[in-house]
Symmetry: D3
Subunit: 61 residues, 6 copies
């Protein structure tokens, strides 16, 4: 029942997202000994205007 959420900047291609869901599922399955069909992966994209490190947004760098 692992539920994995990946927050990342928007801009990945559809193919990258497909690969991300597939590979992360495999990694979790192998490490946590959980059957793949119970693993959920959610991608949450962040806009550069809505995410900052060190007080500076990505859109302002």
């Amino acid at each position: 029942m692992p539920i994995v959420t990946i927050k990342m900047l928007s801009g990945r291609t559809d193919e990258q997202k497909r690969e991300l869901v597939e590979k992360v599922t495999t990694a979790v399955s192998e490490s946590a000994h959980a059957p793949k069909e119970r693993i959920h992966v959610i991608i949450e994209e962040m806009k550069p205007t809505d995410y900052g490190v060190g007080g500076i947004r990505k859109s302002d760098e």
Copy 2:
């Protein structure tokens, strides 16, 4: 002060969302003995390209 977040695939109608917020609030209020006006409900829709189970995204099924 319960804060409820519901992640689900996009595609629900406005009426379904209204009902969802209303009924979940009632359910939490009754079970946790919290006054309704303190219960927050947030709906977060996931796109089929951004959510997968078993390593396969909903958009790829």
Copy 3:
């Protein structure tokens, strides 16, 4: 596939938590027309030292 997270102050009894998971699942199932067996509910308890409204923590009220 709805995934519901409920953040609330710690202190509920085991029976209240059982009822909470059961009733919220029913509410989501009815409103969003999702089969019950696909609905996940997670309770996340907050300590009074780790939660505040209006700038004042529950433990300081």
Copy 4:
């Protein structure tokens, strides 16, 4: 390594978001004695149709 997520109703201007990331970073840095460059701030906007308090969505008030 603090990771701060701010969920709020949509509608803030770009300038307000910039200020929000900047000021929250400073507040966390000073209170938690964490270097600014390690502090991440994420703004997640909620639509009035997807957020309710007391069982009533903002879009229905």
Copy 5:
């Protein structure tokens, strides 16, 4: 109605947490023009065994 969640490594004192909730609330209130009494702040502490950057957990550094 801003809801702020701060994930950080465990180990802060109670006084640091109090200050964190207070200062972050003020920062959000000023930047987003939201009344303080509507701002919720949640601190979520992470254990060094449960958090890693670059593939290495804090407990393994």
Copy 6:
């Protein structure tokens, strides 16, 4: 800057958690073309009393 959160039932060994953080970081790095040192992984353990599927908590199964 991907931030990955993994919610799973408690009970994994320390070695499993170490492997989980390492392998998930590699999977995200390869799929999203993000440098490893920018990838954060957080494990959040759920108690069987606080998690249910289909309206039934793990502790009640």
